[in-house]
């Protein structure tokens, strides 16, 4: 009979002769002389059989007593039970995580919806009484979010204009259609790239700054202090930021459009031998005032989204400095996500209102 004392011998034996069994392609366990087996060596033999079976080696038992069969059966039962339990728990956890994630996201969106409602309420109240607006703060945020964003917005859209102009023009030249490049560039920049890039940059620069500023005030209980003093935090903290973004975003988009188109013009004249006069006349034929105005209209919606998301994330901060960092990241991610969703919806509308776009 194999006893627990034989464990080391058994392990050694298996280790030495492993290769022989793998090469033979089969293994017989002869229990004729052994009326029983202890559970420890039994487990070692069972695991070795499993190992062989996975490698395609057939493993049979000969002359095994009822107790040995029962022991092996119990190993098998235990293993399959633990595997199925593991799988169940795993799937359950995955679904739970997924559900929790969706629920958190929906809660955030519904919270944002109510927050935006409060902001708009305060905004309308202030528009009716413009003297109540904190103009000093509005100008401060206009400078921070608008004036200071000019270099980066202009540089990046100009670069994108160059790349887009060169790459599209290069492909079009194969078909002798490079004169259509200005139109393609004009449409891409004014419809999408200009407003979108300006929005992404403002979300990254200002949306995050709004979240960090209000979040820090939350942590230091300054927002609570304002509320206790009877201030409407929406009028005091949120609307100046939104009004500032509403004022600067259309101009940032206009700037982005000009810089992008200028980049395309440069690519045309430098790399594609497209004269500037041709570029301008082709662009003039393609674009209509609505293309420019549409980008500016979109930017107003983006401004509302970015200001609200930034301030909302800041207001939600609870705890310490780490929460402020998380809120800042979340503000940028959610702003860009919602800006892209809004862009997709507005594009559907644009197809119907812009002459020459309907199918």
């Amino acid at each position: 009979m194999l006893e627990t004392d034989d464990t080391d011998y058994l392990r050694e034996f298996i280790e030495k002769n492993k290769a022989v069994f793998f090469d033979a392609g089969k293994m017989k366990l002869d229990f004729s002389d052994s009326p029983g087996i202890d559970s420890v060596p039994g487990e070692i033999l069972y695991q070795f059989c499993r190992q062989l079976a996975r490698a395609g080696v057939k493993c049979t038992r000969i002359g095994a007593s009822k107790s040995i069969d029962t022991l092996f059966a119990s190993f098998k039962r235990h293993e399959s039970a633990s595997i199925s339990k593991k799988q169940q728990v795993g799937m359950h956890e995955h679904f739970e995580d997924l559900g929790e994630g969706v629920s958190t996201f929906l809660n955030t969106l519904s919270g944002l919806w109510f927050f935006a409602g409060e902001t708009m309420n305060a905004f309308i109240g202030l528009i009716l009484r413009p003297l109540k607006i904190r103009w000093a703060m509005v100008f401060y945020y206009m400078e921070e979010s608008g004036v200071k964003a000019i270099p980066i917005v202009a540089t990046l859209t100009w670069l994108l204009g160059v790349v887009l102009g060169y790459q599209s023009g290069f492909q079009m030249r194969i078909f002798g259609a490079e004169t259509f490049m200005p139109a393609l560039l004009g449409y891409s920049i004014t419809w999408e790239i200009g407003p979108m890039l300006a929005a992404v940059l403002v979300a990254g620069r200002s949306g995050s700054a709004f979240a960090a500023e209000i979040g820090t005030m939350q942590v230091r209980q300054e927002v609570d202090a304002l509320r206790v003093m009877g201030f409407d935090t929406f009028s005091y903290l949120v609307t100046p930021k939104m009004i500032a973004l509403l004022c600067v975003m259309p101009f940032l988009v206009l700037l982005a459009n000009c810089a992008g188109i200028f980049g395309g013009l440069l690519a045309g004249t430098l790399f594609l031998d497209l004269p500037a006069s041709t570029f301008i006349s082709e662009l003039g034929k393609a674009l209509i005032p609505l293309d420019i105005i549409w980008g500016m209209i979109k930017s107003i919606i983006y401004a509302v989204i970015i200001a609200n998301v930034g301030c909302f994330m800041g207001m939600r901060v609870r705890g310490g400095a780490a929460a402020v960092g998380k809120a800042t990241t979340a503000a940028v991610v959610l702003s860009i996500f919602l800006v892209i969703i809004a862009d997709a919806l507005l594009s559907l509308l644009f197809v119907h209102i812009r002459p020459g776009l309907s199918l």
Binding site: Q221, D224, V228
Partner: protein
Amino acid sequence: MTALSVTGLAKTFREKSGDVHALGPVSFDVPQGSFLCVLGPTGCGKTTLLRTIAGLEVPDSGSVDLMFRADGRQPVVGYVFQQGALFPWMSIHDNVEFPLRARGNIDRITRRMRVGAILEMVGLSDFSSSYPHQLSGGMQQRAALARSLVMQPDILLLDEPFSSLDTRTSQDLQENLRNTWKEAATTVVFVTHNIEEAVYLAGEVVVLGHRPGRIVRRQTIDLTDPRSRLSREFTNYLVSLRRTFKELVEEPE
């Protein structure tokens, strides 16, 4: 006359890890012009109680009733936070003047006079043009107290305002606060976990038990002014409340 009436106030926070029943139900009345200390261990819901009274939290059940002013106007509530919560971009003078400017109906001269008087009362006249970061913790708390008092509040709520200060500064400020309370004749609700602070300051102490905070004892502190921490009566109250704290509050949840 009751300045503040709290009836069946309860609050549960919904957290990801489960609901946290933070407070109550709690009921008590605070007579006009009295000094009430809410005493309890950390995490028993004292701050939640104070924030709910101030309207910073919405209770799940119960109500907070504040007595209206004699002229029928809404009562003014002042709040001093644990960390002062002064605005770092404003000087001490501007910080204290801020709530008055926010009201909009007080002219500049009156504002200046009131701010000057209140800064003198808390001993910060020489620091009116300093910024919060230039002041010590104790001075910042005094500025925060001045900012709350300048509104001439009907009820002043203080949330462990001296807990992060050293003993000496804390005791000075306690004396300062008690004198200020007597001068301003306002109703004060002061939250603390420091028994000695509660006995020194309060006319009445309400002891809250472990979360969810419920009142386990009410004790009137009948000491004559000026209060001495070395007097026998003071020690008796201190020992009695310590015993309550030990028996009722620190027992296993």
